[in-house]
Point group: C2
Chain length 202, copies 2
Amino acid sequence: MKEGPIKSSIRPLINYFNNLIPLNDKEQDSVFTYFVPRLYRKRQYILQEGDTCAQFNFIVSGCLRMYKIDEKGNTHVIYFATENWWMIDLGSFYSKKPSELNIEAMEDTMVLQISYDNLTTLYMQAPKFNRIFRVLIENSYVALQKRLLQNISSTAEERYLAFIETYPHLINRLPQLQIASFLGITPEFLSRLRSKLSKQNP
Amino acid sequence: MKEGPIKSSIRPLINYFNNLIPLNDKEQDSVFTYFVPRLYRKRQYILQEGDTCAQFNFIVSGCLRMYKIDEKGNTHVIYFATENWWMIDLGSFYSKKPSELNIEAMEDTMVLQISYDNLTTLYMQAPKFNRIFRVLIENSYVALQKRLLQNISSTAEERYLAFIETYPHLINRLPQLQIASFLGITPEFLSRLRSKLSKQNP
DNA sequence: ACTAGATCAATACTAATTCTTGATATTATT
DNA sequence: AATAATATCAAGAATTAGTATTGATCTAGT
């Protein structure tokens, strides 16, 4: 018997959880119950500045970016997320206050979403998820801290090289414009960096 | 790279209402209170099949289309709406049942939205809006009936000519693909119609 | 004064979308 | 049965949107 398209889109999440901490059948059922799949199209907002972030998102396929628009109207990419990553404005989600951030689909993207209330229910029904989400957020925290450190301590060139190391799969998947915005430099400068580097290592 | 913030321009809606039936200050205040601006980007869904239509939408700028996907996977445009028009799946909105229709942005589109509950409150606070919304829906009804009649009684060529008459501002604003889908013909056939017509009136 | 980087404007390149055309089929009408 | 209206499929052509590069010039911090 083959699973319907919706059920099968939950598989990657079950696998992800099992990989962190194995789930029993009842726990897997809870995942099926509380996470709902949703497709976003390229350029579509998952979260828009001013709205409250109401969902925890797990990415099944595609790519999202979280960014902030500053007073001058410039955008700064906070992070990209692809398959098997999470995307959420935690601050807004827990405080239930309007977000200052935007989340947008870079490609058509399938996510699995759980609402605040359902997440709370999930924690009560299956306390193991407290552990799972703790671990998962710790992972994100570490990545974030690494990125901060990287950012305050390196030149643009170093940051770009580190980006290539850390996210080789993103280099050809994202426009350089976006990568520049992630690195905190202008697209022009990134272009120059790249041409300089390719002259050095032909 | 700039992606400006959402400007809250409720003015066009106030003007629209005043044009139908003049509002007093208190009534204008209610409009400011209950309608909230929201920006949709090109290709973004305002309503997706299966979701419940939770908002009455007034279009400040841009263009939306409502369409249905049939069993064969073909899409049929029910209508387009631009500046100063309304867009909603009334059936889903009032029944609170999942919609079979889709609403999608053809361009970046700014809308003013009011939810079911807020609309109810508005009606109670300012009964004049009952009259306003009655008139407004009557207008839409008339347009719809005209379109139906057009559709069952004319050839594709006649429908196309009528479209040009009725929506001259849409002809160059929308891809022919979409116009074909509105007229209920294939884009290829529309293309042939057009070239035939332009040979007749050079 | 030098380096890392920004800004602005022009141009080049690439990919996505849209439009047209030809060949051939289907369906409804007379 | 013949004809007009319209669909389908496939291939190219044309257009537009999005992205990348380059040159010239500017600025802030060592």
